[in-house]
Symmetry: C2
Subunit: 315 residues, 2 copies
């Protein structure tokens, strides 16, 4: 469930005018920006962008970029874009990251989002960067990790719930054989995880657990520095329980000596209108502290105020 | 350009009634079936199917299957389906073909059709078979050919016309290096052909020709039994000149000791409303005989009459 609080029928024109006012005079009124944009859903934000453009012949996104800065600016920028456009930006940033791409972002978006949402993201990526997501990803990766990620990204996955038990059984055996032989990147492993429907993968993983006494992720241990192995585990966790996965991303982001704002922002912004409430509950249960408290402790300033608003804090 | 002749506003109800009449009594009036269905475009055929269903609570496609037989039935069946549904059937038949899949069909549809058409085909495939095209293809192939075909099929290719000259240059060199080393199935070769936009691939192939004195297909000679190598050449020919490619498919289908009706039907049915006129011109030029004459000579009966109708023969 969503964490953000938003009025039912706010006026996009009044919101655009209030934002314009917040930009004028000495400095920016960040509080006003937060209390408007942090309390509007995706459709409402889109209408504000349109109203702002109509009223002032100016792109609100560009104006916000020039008015704000740092982590706060990045968070607002990701928040104000349409979801598919935001995902395209996240993917592009992840692919271009040096020295190596941020594989997690690519896996999250390709495994957790529905095939239709992911397709919308691919279209947005092409519209924005004039290239396909697949070609950029293939160009910036190599070896096993390329084989796996290009497979994950380049599939229009079947989203039906039908499963074939016999297939789940035989493919669980294929996975087990490969893992026993430490052939983690065997073509068959890549094929199963990258092409089967989510329902079929879950059935296969359940068979695996029933037949071999432990979950597959327990058996996927080898070279701890292997990007491929870690990517495979991430994909499996995204399929099996993505809320638990996101809780861990947030936990790690907050527990680092210096907070990983990029990951924290990404999870809060992308899940606020979907299942951030459930992620918050998991966080509280796992860490004995509420996510709001942890975020309040580890961040500061406008960035802090904005995240807390998205997490559902009332005035 | 299209070869079929069709009236501008035929009545779907009158057509459905005429078909119903053709099915009644002793035997089927195949001539009537041909003269109606062979002279209607995709939209008109769809309306006939709907009118027939409304009038007689019967599926016209199923009825045709029970009324007709042999090559004629298969051709009518492929013709009457919506284009994306027909392509889904063609792909499914190709993948399930024993002892090995018919790779050409998979390459044609993924490389020649626009990204949007191909996406519609993937949706139709899932609706029909309750699995994704990608997973079926991956399951029925292995090794280099799997790597290549799953790459081709699993991409939502960018269709813009922008190209990057520098990239075309550097990727032409990558291709040439791999080919010189006979590393035809090198990951980089697969990456370039399976992920780049058509415009970018053509630019790269032109650079290749300029820098290395011959077209890449001339250099792609090795083990003549290699499915992979032949698939790679096919993909390149589909990108560079798909009409020329189709002319060759038809020529080979007609020149075999026993005609390859499957390939002949496929090209005629899938291209009749697109560019069969251009393919006919190429055929005439290359073989000194018109395609109509060649088809008339190598086929017979209702199948012959139906193909000639699709090729544009007037009564």
């Amino acid at each position: 469930m969503s964490t953000i609080c938003f009025p039912e029928h706010p006026s996009p024109v009044a919101d655009a005018e209030a934002l314009r006012k917040a930009f004028q005079g000495w400095g920016t009124d960040e509080k006003a920006v937060i209390s408007i944009l942090g309390r509007r859903n995706a459709t409402q934000r889109k209408l504000i962008r349109q109203a702002y453009e109509d009223l002032y012949q100016e792109d609100l996104v560009k104006r916000l970029e020039s008015e704000l800065s740092g982590d706060f600016e990045r968070a607002v920028y990701r928040w104000i874009l349409d979801p598919e456009d935001r995902d395209a930006v996240l993917l592009h940033v992840a692919i271009k990251k040096t020295p190596v791409p941020d594989y997690r972002v690519i896996i999250e978006i390709s495994c957790i989002h529905s095939p239709e949402e992911f397709l919308a993201t691919k279209r947005a990526y092409q519209a924005r960067y004039k290239r396909s997501l697949e070609e950029d990803l293939a160009q910036h990766t190599s070896g096993d990790i390329r084989k796996f990620l290009v497979g994950l990204v380049g599939i229009y996955r079947y989203r039906g719930e039908e499963i074939t038990t016999k297939l789940a059984n035989s493919e669980a055996d294929i996975l087990h054989k490969a893992i026993t032989e430490k052939a983690f990147s065997h073509d068959e492993v890549v094929r199963i995880i990258s092409t089967r429907s989510k329902a079929q993968i879950l059935a296969t993983l359940n068979h695996y657990k029933d037949d071999h006494g432990a979950s597959i992720t327990k058996h996927l241990r080898g070279d701890p520095c292997s990007d491929y192995l870690s990517a495979l585990r991430t994909a499996i966790r995204c399929f099996t329980d993505h809320e638990k996965y996101y809780e861990k991303v947030i936990r790690q982001a907050l527990n680092r000596p210096s907070t990983d704002e990029e990951s924290l922002t990404r999870v809060v912004v992308t899940r606020a209108e979907k299942d951030l409430k459930e992620i918050k509950q998991l966080y509280q249960k796992r860490n004995n502290i509420s996510l709001d408290h942890a975020v309040a402790k580890e961040t500061s300033g406008d960035y802090n105020a904005f995240l807390l608003t998205l997490l559902g804090k009332q005035d």
